[in-house]
Symmetry: C2
Subunit: 421 residues, 2 copies
Amino acid sequence: MGGTMPLLVMKFGGTSVADLSRIKNAAAKVKTEVERGYDVIVIVSAMSGKTNELVGWVESTSPLYDAREYDAVVSSGENVTAGLMALTLQEMDIPARSWQGWQVPIQTTSAHAAARFVDIPRANMDAKFAEGFKVAVVAGFQGVSPEGRITTLGRGGSDTTAVAFAAAFGAERCDIYTDVDGVYTTDPRISPKARKLDKIAFEEMLELASLGAKVLQTRSVELAMRYKVRLRVLSSFEDTDETSGTLVCDEDEIMESKVVSGVAYSRDEAKMTLIRVADRPGVASAIFGPLAEAGVNVDMIVQNISETAAGHSGATTDMTFSVPVNQVARARKAMEEARATGSISYDELVEDTDVAKVSVVGIGMRSQVGVAARMFAALAAENVNIKVIATSEIKISVLIDRKYMELAVQALHDAFELEKA
Amino acid sequence: MGGTMPLLVMKFGGTSVADLSRIKNAAAKVKTEVERGYDVIVIVSAMSGKTNELVGWVESTSPLYDAREYDAVVSSGENVTAGLMALTLQEMDIPARSWQGWQVPIQTTSAHAAARFVDIPRANMDAKFAEGFKVAVVAGFQGVSPEGRITTLGRGGSDTTAVAFAAAFGAERCDIYTDVDGVYTTDPRISPKARKLDKIAFEEMLELASLGAKVLQTRSVELAMRYKVRLRVLSSFEDTDETSGTLVCDEDEIMESKVVSGVAYSRDEAKMTLIRVADRPGVASAIFGPLAEAGVNVDMIVQNISETAAGHSGATTDMTFSVPVNQVARARKAMEEARATGSISYDELVEDTDVAKVSVVGIGMRSQVGVAARMFAALAAENVNIKVIATSEIKISVLIDRKYMELAVQALHDAFELEKA
C-alpha cells in the first residue's frame, strides 16, 4: 500500500512541456516537491502543437472519423511526453516511471473523444510507490473503455485527469502548472489594476471559467469541488514556492470575505429577441427545445410581457435570450422552422450581434444586499446602457454594447475596489 | 472463431506509410486483397522519420536511458500509423480497426528494446473477424511484457511482427511491402545484369540478408523458416499483382535448381591476423572468448600452421579472422589485453582494413561439386587475389582487396549465368 508519504499531483500543460528543455524545467519543479518529502503523481499533456498535428492527420484522413481511431491516434502525444518526463526525472536521480491510461488502468465510459471517468483503481500505482518509486508520470487526457479501447476526455482533459488522480489518491493538493501565474480579479490586459488572487472559491472559479477566464477547464473545477480537491494554478515559467499562484478551494478556507472576487467578460455574445410571442403554457419549452436540439448554447434568458398587440387574439410576450455570436444563424433557422410548423408564433425576430457580457462574481454576495444596485450605479455613472440582466446566487451579468465592454470592466473593478487585497 | 476466410498478412514499412497519401496508396493494396476474398492483418511501421525523431528525443534526454521508457516513447510512432491506416480503410468502406500491442495482446519477453515474442493469442482478434471486421491493423515492432510494460523488438522488428502474425493465424502468405520490388541475384547498382528472382529459399535469403542484402530483417526470415511462412517481398510504389515481387519459401516449392542463386557482398570488412600464436589446446577459445566479450562480431576464421619460429619452444600457428571495419580498434584492444594477462601469446597482430567480402549463395551447391573451383577460376581469370576463404553448406565467401569488389561481383554473376532465369 502507498499512502505512507504525503502525496501531491502536479499537472503540466502543453506549453510547459513544449520541448526537452521545458520538460527539464518542469522536472526540476517535481524534484523540489520530492525533496520536500512528497510522493508525486505528474500529469502531462502532449508537447504543444503535437495534438493539433495528430488531429489534423485524422481529420484529413477521415472527416467523419471513427472516434475510437481518433482516440488511438491522438492519445499518443501524451504517451511520448510521459516517457520523456520519466527519463528526465531518472536523470535527476529520482525513481520515476511513466503510466499510460490502460496501465493504471484509468477506467472511463465508452464515449470516445468525450469520455468520463468511471474509476481509477489505486492498486497498481500504490504497489509501485511501495516499491520505492517517488514519481508516477501519467499521460493525461486518456483512459480505457470497458471494451479495452483507448479513450480520450476531449480537449483540456489533462486538467480533469489531474483532479481525478488527486481525488483517487487523496492528494494534499493538485498543482496545475500553466502559462499564467494565477487567477486575477479581471483580465490584466483590460484593467492594469487587476490583482492576482491568493485564493478563490470553487464556485467563483466555475463562474469565472465559464465566463471566459480560461485558466482551468470547467469540468476539472466541478470535479475538484465535488471531491474537495485543493487546486492550485501557477506558472511553470517562473520560480515558484508554496505560496505561489492561486489556490482554488472550498470557501471555508477563505478568510477574507470580499463581496465580489472578480469581473469577467465575454466578447462574442449576441442578443436575440422574439417579438410578440403568443403566450401560452409551454411556450418557453416550445422555443428552447428546438434551440437545444439544434445545439445552440443559450445563456441568458429574459421574458417581458409586451402589450397586447392589435389584431392578436391573446396575450403576447417578448422573449429575449443570448447565444454565442457564431450560433446566431443556427438559432434563427431553428426559430423559423418552429414557426413554420406552427409550434410557436411570433411577429419578428430581432438580432443584436454587437453586444458583450460583463459579470461580477463573488460568493460574498449571497449574504450581502445592494451588490446589483452598486453594479448598476457604476455602469450608469459611465453612461453604459444595460440591455439584459441575469443573476444567480453568486453572479450578476449584464449585456451591454460591445464598445463599452472595456470601460465597464474597469468601472466595475474600481467600484468593488478589487485592486485592494 | 475466425479462420473461415483465407487470411493474408501485409506489412508496410516506414517509406510505404511516410505520409497520408502513401498510407492511402497502401490501403488500396489492402482493399484489393479484401476484394479477392481475404481477411487481412496489416502490420504497419511508423511514418518514416518519426522513429528517428522519437529516438533522438530519448537519447538527448537520457544517454543511458531506461529501456522501458524508451519503448513507451518509441512505440507511439506505430500506434499513430495504425490508427490512420484503419481510418483510411474505413473511408474505403472496409470494416477495419487498429490494434496496439497490449490490445492483442502481443506477449513478449521483458528484454526491452530487444524483446522476443512469447505468444500471440488469437482470441481477441478472431472475435473481431467473426463480428465482420475484414482488416486488423496492427502496430508493428511492439508488444507487452509479463509486467504489463510496452516492449519493442528492436529496429526492423515490424518484419518480424508480420511473420509472427502470419504463423499465429495460419496466413496463406505474408507480403512485405517495401521500397524495392524484390530480391535480386545481386545488387543492380553493381551489376546491370542483376535479375529479380521469382522465388528464393529461406536458407538462401538468410545468407543473403546477413551478407548485406538488406531487404528483409534476418530474424524475420529465421522465424518464417521455422514456421514455414511463405514470405513475399514486393514494392509498395508499383502496381502489383499475385505474381509480383519475390517469394521466399521452402526449397520444396522451388522447381528450378540453380546451383547458385545470388552473389552477395560486404564492403566494410577488415582482416586481422595474429602471427605465430603459441599453439596449445584451448587457444582458439582464449582468442575468441575475449573478442566476444568485447562485442566484436567475428565472421570468417582461418587457422594455418606456421613454421616453428626460431626461439619459440613449441609449435605456433597463424590465426586470421575478419571483423567489421569499425570494430578493428576494439578487437585490437581485446587482443592486447589478453596478451598482457598471459592468456595468449603472439608475435604480431597484422591488420588489413582494405578488404571486402564476396559470396556466392545457393541451396543447389549442397548436391553439386565444383562450385568453389568455378568461383576461384572466375576470380583468377580477372587476376583477383583471394586472401581468405570460408565455406558453409550453401555459401562460399572470399575476402579480397576492396578495389576488386565490383569486378568480382560482376565476374561471378557472369560465371554462374545468373542473368538467365
